[in-house]
Symmetry: C2
Subunit: 301 residues, 2 copies
């Protein structure tokens, strides 16, 4: 799993910072997460192939998280894309995009499929044989979801010495990999755990932006390998965080600690701060390891 | 009058080129003309004060001319703007912007006034005591206007020697400046032209993007000092220009010649061309002088 930060600042684009957008490469998928203004340019700068993006996840309808979407959808059309594009985001997003296509008389020539989200509970919104994506209901000024990206457990691994010693027919290997107990050639029931090993540990990534401090997400993001949690403010501006429904670095770290995540990644910084390292230092008083998102930075999970 | 090109390429933004947007400084106004994605970043790069922009003119509802507008409107809100913002553009633009404000629950705290355009004839859409803005109906795939920016003629200049010789009372000077004939102190009618000189020549700028070759605009843009006329294609791709309702460099030059403009400025280049100088060379076979718009370039009129 590889995460590329295209933009990680709050508010609007500036000459040297970009609003929220990330690319997650997971099991041959390229998932685009949020799409602030200028995302298509950042995709090009980071040499990410447009054609490989088939799923876009939009957390909420504040401009710094979706104003770049209509431009990207439109560019796909100009590039004569034919592949389906799936967009997951709050109800209303479809109306925004289709209104603009209608008025510019520029309908896409590829299938554009909206999956509008309205649930206040975590739900499975994407699944194939190797990956699942769940929503993470967040608390913000408008309806907002984070997203949990999980690899599915693969097959159990055969312990070949044990399998051969147990005289199990080759025809049963597939069932063993799937975790079933099977009969051996002598009609004896063989316990799966005695002849197989656990599958390779799966990886997971949770994206939580924007949100007030919200312990309700802890069970959903429990034990993820990497947690991106917004930290718009430092603790000294906690009084700004509460009414705007954002979090401080310390609050993000508290969530990371309670969820026992592998690593915390901070982002969505208010542009009022010059020294991002203060976010790291503040979070590290509660939880380690902590990393700072920065535009263009790549994290391997 | 000063024209700053923020972006001058057709289609969508790339890492090194911007879609259409221009800033015209005219008699203390800062007029923003078209607003492709990323315009707010280009405004910052070109150090143009956001607060001074009070009028935005949008030619048509293709994305490369307006996808940056909603972000700019939103940024003005975050900057706690209080000044009125007037937006002139095709019918539908208000619906696009207000839908997004509604869904993000982010209404502007400053007066946002839309002037939606529907006329197929040239009309006066802005006027104060020194400046006029008229639409230039263009031929494109969707409803499109160019814009003509004209300084109003100032007062006539008094020829003080002649005025004094003619024994005209000071009380009549204002009428003289306005072009009236007046009586002198001996009751004789004095011909205005004998005691005044023509006002300082006014300047004018015409912005025409996007459009098919259209001689109907010639009378509207007659004698302008600077004509920006799109040249999406070179003559060798004229077969692409016709169906997409764009122009070639040669066609732009032909319009410039017929209108007797002071200077032709080319832009809205298709990104298929590496060497922009070919546009200049092609246009110069018909008309001179020709200049090439380039992102970040400034022209004084």
């Amino acid at each position: 799993m590889k995460l590329t930060i295209l933009g990680c600042y709050s508010a609007t684009p500036r000459a040297d910072t970009n609003p929220t957008s990330q690319v997650l490469e997971i099991n041959n998928h390229i998932f685009l997460i949020d799409c602030g203004e200028g995302t298509q340019v950042e995709l090009r700068r980071n040499k990410i192939k447009f054609a490989r993006i088939k799923h876009i996840f939009i957390s909420h309808l504040h401009g710094d998280h979706f104003f770049g979407l209509v431009g990207l959808v439109s560019t796909f059309r100009l590039l004569t894309r034919e592949t389906e594009l799936h967009i997951y985001g709050p109800k209303g997003l479809k109306e925004i995009i289709t209104l603009q296509m209608k008025l510019s008389e520029s309908w896409t020539n590829y299938p554009l499929i909206f999956h509008e989200l309205t649930s206040k509970d975590s739900e499975l919104i994407f699944e194939d044989d190797k990956v699942e994506v769940h929503t993470i209901p967040l608390i913000h000024r408008v309806y907002t979801n984070g997203f949990l990206f999980k690899e599915k457990p693969g097959d159990r691994k055969l312990d070949m010495n044990a399998v051969l010693n147990a005289d199990i027919d080759v025809a049963y290997y597939r069932k063993l990999k799937q975790g079933a107990n099977v009969e051996n050639e002598h009609g004896e029931m063989i316990n799966n755990a005695d002849v197989t090993k656990a599958p390779i540990k799966t990886k997971s990534y949770a994206f939580c932006s924007d949100t007030a401090y919200n312990e309700a997400i802890v069970p959903i993001i429990k034990d993820v390998d990497l947690l991106y949690h917004e930290s718009t403010f430092l603790e000294k501006h906690e009084k700004l965080a509460a009414p705007t429904k954002h979090s401080t670095a310390k609050q993000a770290a508290s969530i990371a600690k309670q969820a026992g995540v592998g690593k915390l990644l901070l982002g969505h910084y208010s542009t009022r701060y010059d020294n991002l390292n203060d976010f790291k230092l503040e979070a590290e008083t509660i939880f380690t390891p902590v990393e700072l998102a920065r535009d263009g930075k790549v994290f391997t999970i």
